[in-house]
């Protein structure tokens, strides 16, 4: 009965899409609050960099990155599921999606880890 797609049922993906969606929504408000209400005085490059370079924030940002990449890649995969049916084309498009997903994750994590205040 199954022509295409992996043997997984898709239950986890359905569930986690919603979980990650809620997490992203929460972090969006958090980001907004922190940027516009929690900083004293004018926003400067130094203040932002100090915050972004702290280990706590780096950890938070990496978590946010993982959820965001998962949510985006899963979402695009669903769009591909709707419109692309030929096995060959699916292998190509989903393969590209995996590559882009891993790339964003890697580059993103590297960037976050290497953030430091210019001295």
């Amino acid at each position: 009965m199954k022509y295409f797609g992996s043997g997984r049922s898709g239950a986890f993906d359905w569930f986690f899409q919603r979980v990650s969606g809620i997490v992203l929504l929460v972090t969006l408000f958090l980001h907004f609050y922190v940027m516009h209400f929690a900083i004293e005085g004018p926003i400067t490059y130094e203040k932002v960099m100090v915050r972004l370079s702290s280990p706590g924030w780096k950890a938070l940002d990496i978590v946010f990155l993982i959820f965001a990449v998962y949510h985006a890649v899963n979402g695009f995969k669903l769009i591909i599921d709707d419109y692309v049916h030929s096995t060959v084309l699916r292998a190509v498009t989903i393969g590209l999606l995996w590559v882009m997903g891993i790339a964003f994750l890697t580059i993103g994590i590297m960037t976050i880890v290497n953030l430091r205040v210019q001295s």
Binding site: M1, A11, F12, F15, D82, Y83
Partner: protein, 235 residues
């Protein structure tokens, strides 16, 4: 002078036509409360006897006459002409192969119904009398057992159009009818079938099915119930 309404009807005769086309008919309104099916019959019997469509009970219980009318799936026998904006465009149910004019091939739809094991499964021997079921347990079946297999919901679902393997709202609603029946003992067998990329998880809650169902059933809600049960089992 009786009022006339224009029906734009989808025509296709596989023995003659290469492509489908639309034909206009002027239907006369002869009595108040005239249904679309009455109009179609008038066309068949007085204007063009070659028009083909399915119909039987003419009161919305058999499910033969599911059609796409002015872009929405409904049963032609319980749709008042006066509720529709003319010209009334009548097409066969979307995404199914057309046999002729407004008749579609329901094989795929029925196959998906057969797949979910839509019959009571029991392993324990039956009692001498009826199996007992409280009114509360019986109430769970309300909104599920009334499905008339008209295919309006499944053929209105974009996921059903996109994925040839997707079971569709009707098959999933019917599987819920048995999974939630307190007398049934085959829930696990059915979960195996519907807990699948092409089963419940293909539903993206588009909600077209609720709009289309002529019996006012809610397939999305039924599918939601199934998803909840599956997630609970998993985590």
């Amino acid at each position: 002078m009786a009022e006339k309404v224009t029906f734009k009807v989808f025509r296709f005769n596989p023995e003659k036509d290469k492509k489908p086309y639309y034909q206009d008919f002027e239907v006369e309104i002869r009595k108040p409360g005239m249904m679309v099916l009455d109009g179609l019959n008038q066309i068949r019997w007085e204007m063009d006897g070659t028009l083909a469509f399915r119909r039987s009970c003419r009161e919305g219980v058999c499910g033969s006459d599911g059609l796409n009318i002015n872009g929405v799936n409904m049963l032609s026998c319980i749709t008042h002409i006066s509720d529709l904006k003319p010209p009334i465009v009548i097409q066969p149910l979307p995404s199914l192969p057309v046999v002729k004019d407004l008749v579609v091939d329901l094989t795929d739809f029925m196959n998906k119904f057969f797949l979910v094991k839509p019959y009571l499964i029991t392993y324990s021997p039956p009692p001498d009398k009826e199996r007992l079921q409280t009114p509360e347990e019986r109430k769970k079946l309300d909104g599920l057992y009334e499905c008339i297999l008209c295919a309006c919901c499944s053929t209105s679902c974009p996921s059903y159009w996109a994925d040839p393997e997707y079971l569709g709202p009707s098959a999933l609603l019917n599987s819920a009818r048995f999974i939630l029946d307190s007398r049934d003992e085959g829930a696990d067998e059915r979960f195996e079938i519907i807990n699948d990329r092409h089963g419940v998880w293909r539903c993206h809650t588009i909600l077209n099915c609720i709009e289309a169902c002529p019996k006012l059933l809610n397939p999305t809600e039924a599918i939601g119930e199934l998803k909840k049960i599956l997630i609970k089992k998993k985590f």
